[in-house]
């Protein structure tokens, strides 16, 4: 290396990471300064008091705002999970592997897809009807998301308890059709027009069987309040409305497949016929909205099926008699130990119990699997102990807080139905549009009406002669 070369000077400036850190530091310092000033001058506590006072007075509104925000925030991760499920499940059914590079087992693939969609250029094609074109994705997205407000996720955990919950649900999801038509019409494109009209025709045809299919449940429950409907299905599994209204369940599920725009009724994105249907002229995040709306729609229709027919957040097993028999009460009591009376032995719990447990489990493993060394069995024992303790704590939590159990059961059932939707997508080809309309108007709707009549008749008979 020749001595004549001088090292190039480093460019003056901050690296990107440095910029982020500096910005955060500035924010933290400014916040600390503001907080100090507010506290010192006495404005802070006054303001806080005022906030608490108005909050208490308007607790309902605040609760509603919190519920709406929660619901909106919930949709995006739910959509990501459903997209990942779809990618992986369909891949397995196609004898493929699916995404497995981004994240462990490809779990970040849908997140990356979302980020990619976000990073695309946001353009408006020439000739479109700009306000309608811009608002269409918002309408479709909101129509799907607004319905989440009334679904009871767990006992005591619905966004808003409405007496007319079911009516509100169908009203809100019906607005989606307007959004589809807006998207198809405003794009300056014959393909989009055709796609939009086809999609709207499909959705409208199947809304009637969808709604009529639920009338049987409403008649049996006597209310439109979704929370009440779920409560009616408490207890053992045969209380679920699925066993009292099997035809309605089938009708509802088929109509829900068409409502969500899933194969075999996926005219919204019949990509072997009309490339991208009504969303041909959309790209970037606008298309992302349609995409999300579809997956959220899938989720809420599954959630509604679960709520109406499959017992909502109830496990289907009436565990109280069993627990009573075993002498266990909920919430599970851990005995009447007063922590204060332990004295210095209180320290034993966090410092002695974990190492003893780990050593015990590792010792067991080392004795059983003698070919593993001490280090390996210690590591495995550590992991295993964590898992065991976590499982124990989870069991305690689940049985103590029925909301947690309810939440898990609800999500399990909903995602199970979503998996059924995904399975149908992988298996079936598409139904032709006139065959679809035929099926909806000539078969499903009469079947739904028949179901209502039979249910009503049965209720009257039972009431007259058996009670």
């Amino acid at each position: 290396m020749s001595a004549a070369t001088t090292p190039t000077p480093t460019p003056a400036g901050v690296s990107p990471l440095g910029k982020v850190v500096l910005a955060l530091l500035a924010v933290v310092l400014a916040g600390a300064l503001a907080f100090f000033l507010l506290w010192v001058t006495g404005v802070g506590p006054l303001a806080v008091d005022w906030i608490i006072e108005t909050g208490d007075a308007n607790i309902e509104i605040l609760r509603f705002i919190a519920a709406a925000t929660g619901v909106l925030l919930f949709t995006v991760p739910a959509a990501f999970v459903i997209i990942y499920m779809e990618l992986k499940l369909i891949a397995q059914m196609n004898l493929r592997v699916g995404p497995d590079r981004t994240g462990p087992w490809g779990s970040l693939a849908s997140l990356m897809a979302g980020l990619k969609v976000l990073s695309k250029e946001d353009f408006t094609p020439r000739g479109v009807d700009v306000p309608v074109y811009t608002l269409a994705p918002a309408v479709v997205f909101l129509a799907s998301v607004m319905t989440l407000l009334v679904i009871p996720f767990a006992p005591g955990m619905a966004g808003y308890y409405m007496e007319l919950g079911l009516l509100y649900f169908f009203a809100a999801s019906g607005i989606g059709v307007v959004g589809l038509m807006m998207a198809g019409w405003s794009s300056f494109n014959k393909y989009s027009l055709l796609g939009g009209i086809r999609a709207a025709a499909a959705v409208i045809s199947y809304e009637l069987p969808l709604i009529l299919g639920t009338f049987g449940v409403v008649l049996l429950a006597g209310t439109l309040n979704l929370g009440q409907i779920v409560e009616n299905q408490a207890g053992w599994m045969w209380n679920w409305y699925a066993f009292q209204q099997p035809l309605a369940l089938i009708i509802f599920f088929i109509a829900a497949t068409a409502e969500a725009g899933r194969t075999p009724f996926d005219y919204t994105e019949a990509d072997s016929e009309l490339v991208a249907g009504f969303a041909t002229e959309y790209s970037g995040m606008r298309f992302g909205f349609f995409f999300f709306a579809e997956y959220v729609n899938v989720f809420i229709l599954s959630a509604l099926t679960v709520t109406l027919f499959l017992g909502g957040y109830h496990t289907g097993v009436d565990i109280d008699p069993i627990l009573g028999f075993l002498g266990v009460t909920t919430p599970v009591e851990l005995g009447n130990i007063d922590p204060g009376s332990l004295g210095p032995w209180l320290l034993a719990i966090p410092f002695l119990v974990p190492p003893i447990l780990v050593l015990a489990v590792s010792g067991l493993i080392w004795m059983v699997k003698s070919e593993w060394g001490i280090i390996k069995s210690l590591v495995v024992g550590f992991v295993l102990t964590n898992l065991l303790v976590g499982a124990a704590v989870s069991f305690w939590a689940i049985f103590s807080f029925e909301a947690l159990l309810g939440l898990l059961v609800f999500f399990g059932k909903s995602f199970g139905l979503v998996a059924l939707f995904v399975l149908m997508r992988a298996t079936y080809p598409r139904v032709r549009i006139d065959q679809m309309a035929n099926f909806a108007w000539k078969w499903l709707m009469p079947a739904a009406l028949l179901n209502i009549f039979v249910t009503a008749g049965a209720i009257i008979i039972v009431r007259e002669y058996f009670s």
Binding site: I90, M93, N94, L95, R96, K190, Y191, L194, R198, T263, P264, D266, A270, D271, S272, E273, L274, V275, R425, A426, T427, Y428, P429, R430, V431, R432, I433, D434, Q435
Partner: protein, 407 residues
């Protein structure tokens, strides 16, 4: 004729861009119609719309553009526009050797290229009256039948994909993958094999190929059955294809169709039996024939043909003789003057060549008759009056491949 130089406008001249009306390349050109049919087609009635099923489309089996005149969802008329994949293969063959023609005709039927590259081979052998070694003939039949199976597996997948089912094509590709790997160990290529030679084949079977073939034969039936079961009884699939695109016997003969679309109408015309070539007379197989003539019948026929091909491969493996795989030919091959029409049965129909030789080492005229060209013509009368979704079902069931149609 070559246009005289004075009439040709060079693209380097900027005036050319200004003078050329852009309308000649419009998607739906308001151009002055050149023929009666064009005038009739572009005369758009009240409420009708012209839509492009454009050259870029997932379901047109290549770059095919179909201009549709639709009335709502119903198709009133169609006008297929081809030529996006035209490579001038016939002209190129006239300027190269007879041997060069083998590589030039390879990409014509790219899904099953052993058939298209056999065209110059068979025609030259007929003109030379060459005796091909028997082992080479048997290897050729093996290659042909393997290509037939892989092409049919792909056809079933395409048909399902065009109708919206995304799973059967991956099963088909799984099957095709194995066959193609086998042929890669035999020929060195996976898609455009370049394996046939005038007088034989390029290289004998090797151990890797035979072991893969044996493995595959033991499992082949099962996966095809899987793929077929997924679709045969599938209510939605049957409703989409049954009674659709019905081709009558007269129509098939008038349109010059061949292959599965012709056999699905009840005409038992298979080139392997009607004009036997190679060692097919010594092999035992049936010609599946159905009489419905609709898309569903064509689909079932493809599945039947796969089973027959498996039978043929079995016999070939048992009867394979020993010997050389290539006949002795002079270095500079001059084909004696004459005219020959050589035909073979490809997965899509009758693949034929009309070769005219003038005694030199270049073909004088090398006319390639592609079955998809004639089969695709039927799409126009079959689809009129049906819905937009039906054009996929009909076109896919006729199994066109644009490489051959556009040459």
């Amino acid at each position: 004729m070559t246009t005289p130089r004075e009439q040709v406008r060079s693209l380097d001249d900027p005036e050319v861009m200004v003078q050329t009306p852009g309308t000649i390349y419009d998607t739906i050109p308001p151009l002055t119609p050149r023929t009666e049919r064009e005038a009739e087609f572009y005369d758009v009635g009240d409420g009708e719309m012209l839509v492009n099923l454009g050259p870029q489309h997932p379901s047109t089996h290549g770059v095919l553009r179909v201009v549709l005149k639709i009335d709502g969802e119903k198709i009133v008329d169609l006008d297929p526009v081809m030529g996006y994949l035209h490579r001038g293969v016939e002209k190129i063959c006239e300027h190269g050797d007879w041997h060069h023609a083998i590589s030039n005709t390879d990409p014509l039927e790219y899904a099953a290229s052993m058939f298209s590259e056999s065209l110059p081979v068979l025609s030259a052998e007929r003109l030379l009256e060459l005796e091909v070694p028997r082992r080479a003939e048997y290897i050729r039949v093996l290659a042909w039948e393997l290509n037939r199976i892989s092409s049919h597996a792909l056809f079933i997948g395409w048909l399902a994909l065009d109708l919206g089912g995304i799973t059967p094509i991956l099963y088909g590709f799984g099957e095709r993958d194995e066959i193609v790997e086998m042929l890669a160990s035999l020929t060195g290529q996976k898609l455009l094999f370049n394996y046939m030679r005038i007088g034989g084949v390029n290289g004998d079977l090797n151990h890797d190929f035979l072991s893969r073939l044996g493995d595959w034969m033991s499992r082949a039936g099962a996966r095809i059955n899987d793929q077929a079961t997924l679709m045969n009884e599938n209510e939605i699939f049957v409703n989409r294809t049954k009674g659709l695109g019905v081709v009558s016997r007269e129509m098939a003969l008038q349109y010059g169709m061949s292959g599965p679309p012709l056999r699905a109408t009840g005409v038992p015309y298979d080139v392997r039996r009607a004009h036997p070539y190679s060692v097919y007379p010594e092999l035992e197989f049936d010609i599946p024939v159905r009489s419905d003539g609709d898309s569903y019948a064509r689909y079932l026929l493809h599945v039947d043909e796969i089973k027959q091909s498996l039978r043929i491969i079995d016999q070939v493996l048992h009867q394979m003789p020993d010997g050389p795989v290539m006949a002795k030919l002079p270095r500079l091959l001059r084909v004696p003057p004459g005219r020959a029409f050589a035909a073979l049965e490809s997965p899509r129909g009758q693949y034929a060549v009309y070769a005219v030789s003038d005694g030199s080492d270049q073909p004088f005229r090398f006319r390639i008759h592609d079955p998809s060209f004639f089969n695709l013509q039927a799409v126009v009368p079959l689809t009129r009056g049906h819905l937009l979704a039906d054009i996929m079902a009909i076109m896919a069931s006729l199994d066109p491949i644009m490489g051959g149609i556009d040459k």
